[in-house]
Point group: C2
């Protein structure tokens, strides 16, 4: 394929992985989420520690986070940009994440999400994830109510 066609095919394939992740998060299906990740994924998450290494660690943390919600989780990706070339790619987007917890609290916020991909055996897998919110320098608090 000419280079432009192969790039846009890669971008479409990665967009489809991100759609799969979106469905998995909404359904609180951690295994479906992890099916898009490499076993040695390293995540920089909103919550400590500084870094989380390996799919097993992420399985545990996502199980805890997602199971705290009652019913489905609301998840929406906005302003997605994908850069693909050869066997490496990355994406950035803003993501709306939220729902109602089992103890009745309504939690919603806009996150910044960066994903790093590698093509492994013909499939694009997430090998790096970075999710965050900014914080307020004055009071040291994470800012959870910013809107894009």
């Amino acid at each position: 394929m000419p280079r432009e066609d192969s790039q846009s095919a890669d971008e479409a394939a990665i967009r489809s992985v991100i759609n799969g992740i979106t469905k998995a998060v909404r359904a609180k299906d951690v295994e479906a989420f992890l099916s898009h990740c490499a076993p040695d994924i390293v995540a920089f998450d909103m919550l400590p520690p500084l870094e989380q290494e390996g799919a097993e660690t992420i399985r545990r943390n996502w199980d805890t986070a997602l199971s705290s919600f009652e019913g489905t989780v609301e998840y929406e990706v906005r302003k997605l940009a994908i850069t693909a070339g050869g066997d490496a790619a990355f994406s950035r987007c803003l993501a709306f994440f939220g729902g109602t917890t089992k103890d009745g609290k309504r939690i919603v916020n806009w996150l910044r999400l960066t994903l790093g991909f590698r093509r492994i055996d013909g499939q694009w897998k997430v090998i790096h994830q970075h999710v965050s919110v900014p914080f307020d320098m004055e009071n040291g608090k994470a800012i959870l109510d910013l809107k894009p």
Copy 2:
């Protein structure tokens, strides 16, 4: 070049860009930093807003941030991992960032840093930057004293 050789050459080139950024941050040289960035860079920074678009915005914010320090800035990259393939690449690392402000405060913290690169006219340029610290779910505060 065989694919492995070209990948490791790309990784070396990106490592050299990251070394250049390290020197620029230490010297508080915003122009040297920006020389490694594409004009349409999009940054997810530690401080609001959710996203910063364009080199000009980043110039302004970095000028403010770096000029608040007295003398040089301490900056050190740890656990750097680079994934390169074709004309896209990304890196992740932990970065120690700090110094003494002009009003005598000592500020140091470990950040998580993800960079997204595109090869433009043969040069690797940063087109995306994501810097963050995690936060404490209990008290809502950004956690600035985590160590790798």
